[in-house]
């Protein structure tokens, strides 16, 4: 499910590098090299490979407050099974939707987005999502409190940026 990459492709050194970077994404290659007892060039090559394989990505996350303290909204969507794949693509194309997961079980699709007001959410659901071909039902719920979020673990789906 998680694509071509797998744990088996990460050897001990890769795992050591990932661990250091997870703790401090800005640590220099030189510092990692010194701690793991290899050359700086080795670290540079390994990090590059991990990036190219879509296993690691370095980016910025900003706090909720910087985006006007939005609420995370979840939309559970039941759909005509023959249209689920196409729907997943259409939902991904919506800028307001930050996460689209094809599911087995409770819904056909789970979509999420951050919204600063309820009207904006309602407009999206009633005017853009419900009319999509194959959508049978949209169940919306709003997060009132986030207790945990692991910003460092994700599905890397974006194109890997060089560097």
């Amino acid at each position: 499910m998680t694509g071509k990459a797998d744990w088996a492709r990460l050897d001990k050194l890769d795992q050591g590098i990932v661990e250091k970077l997870a703790r401090d994404a800005r640590i220099s290659n030189r510092a990692i090299a010194a701690e793991l007892g290899v050359t700086e060039g080795t670290i540079r090559t390994r990090v590059k490979r991990l990036q190219n394989e879509g296993l690691i990505q370095f980016t910025v996350v900003t706090d909720f407050r910087m985006a006007g303290s939005p609420n995370l909204c979840m939309m559970g969507i039941d759909a005509d099974p023959s249209q689920v794949s196409e729907l997943a693509r259409s939902l991904s194309d919506l800028e307001e939707i930050t996460c689209v997961i094809v599911l087995l079980g409770r819904y056909s699709l789970l979509a999420m987005g951050l919204f600063t007001n309820i009207e904006q959410l309602n407009d999206l659901v009633t005017e853009r999502i419900r009319p999509m071909p194959g959508v049978q039902r949209v169940e919306t719920s709003v997060s009132v409190h986030n207790l945990k979020y692991e910003a460092g673990i994700a599905k890397i789906t974006r194109d890997v940026v060089a560097g």
């Binding site: 998680t2 990932v18 980016t59 996350v61 706090d63 407050r65 079980g105 986030n146």
Partner: protein, 160 residues
Amino acid sequence: MQIRSGRKTTPPSLDTLDTNIIEILRTNGRATNQEIAERLSVTAATVSARLQKMEDARAMRVVAVTDFAAHGYNVIIALGVKVQGRSVQDVGQELAAIPEVLSVNIMSGEHDVELLVALRDFGEVQQMLFDRIASVDGVIHIRSGVAVDIVKYEFNVVPL
């Protein structure tokens, strides 16, 4: 709408230099302070100080985002949990303590708590659901969905 963790919600104000630094790091979080400084015609010390200031204010953080696969997580499940006889907050806190539970949200909607859980293989699902999550006091119902494809997953705005 307002949330959430009880912390004050006034955002720190960022100037143009701050946002320019963020933009550069967004595309390459490994750019050195020196590289950023050269592109913005300031000193590396300035970049370093600005980054420190923004991180201290919990405005932003440069992160190494690792793919689920880099942790050996091959199964992702989305669970809706119903709670009875105990505060939803307390149940949520207890669920958040489980390492494989990547996110916990208290919801207004059909379910009281929404969880995203990562597991190494399908064999772990049963134990996670029926031993670990179901044994948390107050959990009375779990509705589960298994991810077969994650088409989009872009969380650039997070609770810090």
